[in-house]
Subunit: 325 residues, 2 copies
């Protein structure tokens, strides 16, 4: 479901005084950027706002200084915002919060074209936006109210996460113009880039270098690159896949690769992450074929297989077909 | 020397009909982007233009399709442009071309604050610009003439090279607005990003992974990371440092690192590349102390030492002082 910004959304939103903000489980840079950017903006204009994160965010984001609650009682707030949540059950603490979607005071702000939260009144879902942070930034900027450098930095961090640092095909002229306004508002690019892109722990770098030298496989005339991540290798470098953002780019950046895949065994099955470099060969249908989801060029699924070899065989078959089309 | 865009520069430049374009020796993405973007723009508006590259550009840029000459006789052209050339002897084929700087038809377009080409009439040197490509793009855009997607792509490629994909501190709101206009003109971001950032040859990736696992050293409480690149390791992976752009980012991206350094022995001495992540600790003075040069945050020098250990000792001393200030 995609809709343009509803006409009175900004004024209706800013009529609130006490805001409760949710984002999705296992928050990434856009979840963090949009939720904490919105919180900071609401603070900028003199309103009370809390963000709920039921679990710790990945370590790198802690450097942004994230003040949040583990849980909260919606009765203490007059407005509830869900940012970057495509489905009700992805809303962190979702069971309880999903009930709120029927209330007039619930704002569903997102950029996933699969968004089906369907709040009773306020839905602003723009799948052409690069990120929920871009949507939040547009709301804040279009209000004409003041925005602190701190706020601008959060929004820009989210936009840069979901555009892969302005490298992915969702980077449009509009995205860069919104980002330019955030820089004009004093967003500290240097600081956020150091946090997002130049803060790889040395153990991760060493883990990656062993993964590259031992695990990379290529197929389909080199156009498909993939790797299985052994748990022992993670253990050896004390590295956790909670911090895995960008790991798949190791494969994607190889010359000639069109589709990249990472596979890791988890308790509920083999988690498969897929990325495409070419819109003629989208990976969303591949993920969907195995019950997964995501974006056209970035998708994933969890497969209940007995071995990596089985996963490899299934995916190889499917991806060979995509690449020969 | 830094000067704003001279008032009549665009009309004076576009009064020409046959253009000869130079950029610097060992051209990087900005040299390529600005020179070939300018050539393409001049073609867009019906003018003749040739680019001179005395030697092959790095392989990755060949995918852009670079039509150029090895040398040319200026007598056959009515206008000569030097793009991204800070000094006369950096102009490719410089000996002869430096003579042209005294002529009215010579345009010196650059963004290095050290630019001392001093053309007799036309100098447009803006050290606040991210890149020569940004300057060339501004000239083209401000002319109000048409610009093809092909042209826009070259300029954007140069801007993205010199801003590290919009990550370096030279990325301002204005840079992003100019980049947005280039996207509006149809620059194919996906294609250029694949060429610039997602086209690492697998041998380079494997070389890097061995460099990481064997050569990285850290000092100054981890804030200084550096590596010596052994020639044997380059040979083993059939990798050449002509393609080294981005290699130093392997060190810069490590969490906690403030200054990164790569050292490689060449026939004329040890080539040292330096990068800083924090403007409080610029590396230009360090490079200058050893007779080198560059930008505040990205500089280099060549040291006539007998061993890497000697280079290491000299640099370690200097950088420890920078970092304790």
């Amino acid at each position: 479901m995609t809709a343009p910004m509803p006409e009175n959304l900004v004024s209706a939103l800013l009529a609130g005084e006490k805001f409760l903000i949710f984002t999705h489980l296992r928050p990434d840079g856009d979840a963090i950027g949009s939720a904490f950017g919105m919180r900071s903006f609401l603070n900028d204009i003199g309103k009370k706002a809390d963000v709920v994160l039921p679990t710790d965010p990945p370590a790198r984001y802690l450097k942004f200084g994230l003040e949040c609650l583990r849980s909260a009682d919606p009765a203490n707030y007059d407005t509830v915002i869900a940012l970057d949540c495509a489905t009700r059950d992805r809303i962190a603490d979702g069971g309880a919060m999903a009930l709120l979607t029927s209330e007039e005071r619930f704002f569903n702000l997102d950029h996933h074209f699969t968004n089906n939260v369907q709040a009773s009144v306020w839905n602003y879902v723009d799948s052409k936006a690069s990120s929920a942070s871009e949507i939040a930034a547009k709301i804040a900027l279009s209000s004409g109210r003041k925005m602190s450098p701190h706020t601008a930095r959060f929004f820009l961090a989210g936009m840069m996460t979901d555009t892969g640092g302005f490298k992915f095909s969702n980077t449009t002229g509009d995205v860069l113009r919104t980002a330019a306004l955030l820089l004009d508002h004093g967003a500290n690019l240097e600081e956020l880039v150091n946090i997002l892109f130049f803060s790889k722990p040395e153990n991760q770098l060493r883990f990656e270098s062993e993964l590259i030298s031992k695990q990379i496989r290529r197929n389909c005339s080199g156009r498909f690159a993939y790797a299985f991540i052994p748990q022992e290798m993670l253990d050896k470098y004390d590295f956790s896949l909670k911090e895995d953002e960008g790991l798949i780019d190791l494969l994607r950046e190889i010359d000639g690769v069109v589709i990249a895949m990472l596979v890791h065994r988890q308790s509920d099955g083999f988690k498969v992450s897929l990325r495409s470099k070419d819109p003629r060969y989208p990976v969303a249908p591949v993920a969907a074929a195995f019950g997964g989801g995501g974006h056209l060029m970035a998708a994933g699924a969890t497969l209940k297989c007995d071995s990596f070899e089985e996963v490899e065989k299934l995916l190889l078959e499917k991806i060979a077909k995509v690449l020969e089309d």
